[in-house]
């Protein structure tokens, strides 16, 4: 244990995802030794992101305004929605330049052991977006792991009976991986070769 402020910093850093106690300590001492100007920049970036960035009220993507850049873009089709787990998946798919529709960010995947059920995801928001009949296809682009697959299975069961074309990214994406790590070519191909799910 260190004195007051240092220990507080280590504790806060240790709460970040993927940062263990050892790393938290290393980062804390790095910051202590760093130039105050550099630390100020980091503080500003943190303050800024909390003050200005919000979640798009339509799709759940991160956004500087009420509606995100994709939702505001009139050249993008309103007929196709691509469903992903996290905002970073939107970035990965945008890199492929393969998709010209809109997105829907669920905010995770169904994972009963971690206490995440269908009601904890933005599924009812998705259903209301489909209500007016504009959307004709929903592409399920959850992660190619068991939680992502189960989430898509759950969604397909809701969507197929609504008469929509429901598709899942083609296999070829490495199973067990994160969507964000798929390279553009592989992800682009998975999009092109998406298969339709029937009831």
């Amino acid at each position: 244990m260190y004195e007051g402020a240092v220990q507080d910093l280590i504790d806060e850093l240790g709460r970040l995802p993927g940062v263990g106690p050892k790393s938290a300590q290393r980062i804390a001492f790095h910051l202590l030794a760093a130039d105050p100007v550099d630390v100020r920049r980091l503080v500003d970036a943190l303050t800024e992101v909390k003050a200005r960035v919000q979640f798009c009220t339509v799709c759940g993507n991160v956004s500087q305004e009420e509606h995100c850049r994709v939702c505001r873009d009139p050249r993008r089709s309103n007929e196709v929605i691509c469903v992903v787990e996290e905002p970073k998946d939107v970035v990965a798919i945008e890199r492929t330049r393969e998709f010209r529709g809109k997105y829907h960010v669920l905010g995770g995947a169904i994972n009963p052991i971690d206490n995440v059920g269908p009601d904890d995801l933005r599924i009812s928001e998705l259903m209301s977006r489909l209500a007016d009949g504009t959307v004709t296809e929903v592409i399920l682009a959850t992660d190619p792991n068991v939680e992502g697959e189960a989430t898509s299975t759950y969604l397909a069961r809701l969507l197929v009976p609504m008469g929509l074309r429901v598709t899942r990214l083609a296999s070829g994406l490495p199973v067990g991986g994160d969507l964000e790590y798929a390279d553009e070519v592989t992800l682009g191909r998975a999009f092109e070769g998406r298969r339709q799910i029937s009831a």
């Binding site: 993927g18 009963p112 206490n115 068991v146 299975t153 067990g176 592989t186």
Partner: protein, 243 residues
């Protein structure tokens, strides 16, 4: 650095840092083990698909300072794929994994029976050998029995008086005779107790022929048993889809 090799079921997988994953394994000989799979979330990983929940694997690990590290994995039972594509199987399977994780508390303490029980229950679930809800309840009852909390469905759980009995009390250990019956004991249908006894003993002809009504009443009693013995409630149980 010491290397060891074992069979295991992957109970949980949590993201760690950029591309690693921490997996909780229930192994045959080394009990519960927490280990790191390095780089497994990258698409180039050969291990990624094998270090997923529900997978039955043959794994090689080396002993690390805090966590062991996975160095090799082969698939013995690829249950994740089938289970991920059927929501009923997924929720039932998740409740099994959470139960195993909770019942086997200490790490590196062998619990061969719990391993064998879980591996065969997952095989049965993924193979759709019986209704998912029945496979789950059979697994839960047997896992409790192995943990030392075998319920009694026929003879009186208190005094051993020969059954069948009409009353049932979770806190007393199952069926109770009229003399041992505590206030507030339930009176389930006799067929429900027959079903539960069949699930515990693996008499599948009886279990498969049971009706919906008794299955529903049975899984309520099994859930009550489980909650009674585990300190905190099971999170995944409320999400199980019973068809």
């Amino acid at each position: 650095m010491s290397l060891y090799r074992d069979e295991a079921v992957v109970l949980r997988a949590q993201k760690l840092g950029e591309a690693d994953r921490i997996v909780t394994l229930l192994t045959r000989h080394h009990g519960k083990v927490r280990a790191v799979g390095k780089g497994v979330r990258r698409t180039s990983s050969r291990f990624g698909s094998r270090l997923e929940p529900f997978m039955l694997i043959d794994v090689q690990l080396y002993t690390g300072r805090s966590l062991d590290v996975v160095t090799q994995v082969e698939t013995l039972g690829s249950f994740a794929q089938v289970i991920g594509r059927d929501y009923g199987l997924y929720t039932a399977g998740a409740a099994m994994l959470e139960t195993a994780d909770r019942l086997v508390e200490a790490e590196h303490e062998p619990s061969v029976q719990q391993f064998v029980l879980l591996a065969s229950a997952l095989r049965s679930l993924a193979g759709r050998e019986h209704a998912a809800g029945l496979v789950l309840d059979a697994y839960l009852l047997r896992a409790l029995a192995v943990a030392g909390w075998a319920p009694s469905f026929i003879d009186c759980a208190r005094c051993g008086a020969e059954g069948p009995h009409r009353s049932f009390a979770v806190g007393s250990g199952g069926a109770v005779c009229s003399a041992c019956r505590p206030p507030g004991a339930a009176s389930p249908a006799p067929e429900t107790l027959v079903l539960l006894a069949a699930l515990l003993s693996g008499t599948w002809e009886v279990a498969d022929a049971s009706d919906e009504r008794h299955r529903r009443e049975g899984n309520g009693l099994v859930a009550a048993f489980l909650q009674f013995h585990l300190e905190r409630g099971l999170r995944s149980l409320r999400m199980v889809e019973r068809v």
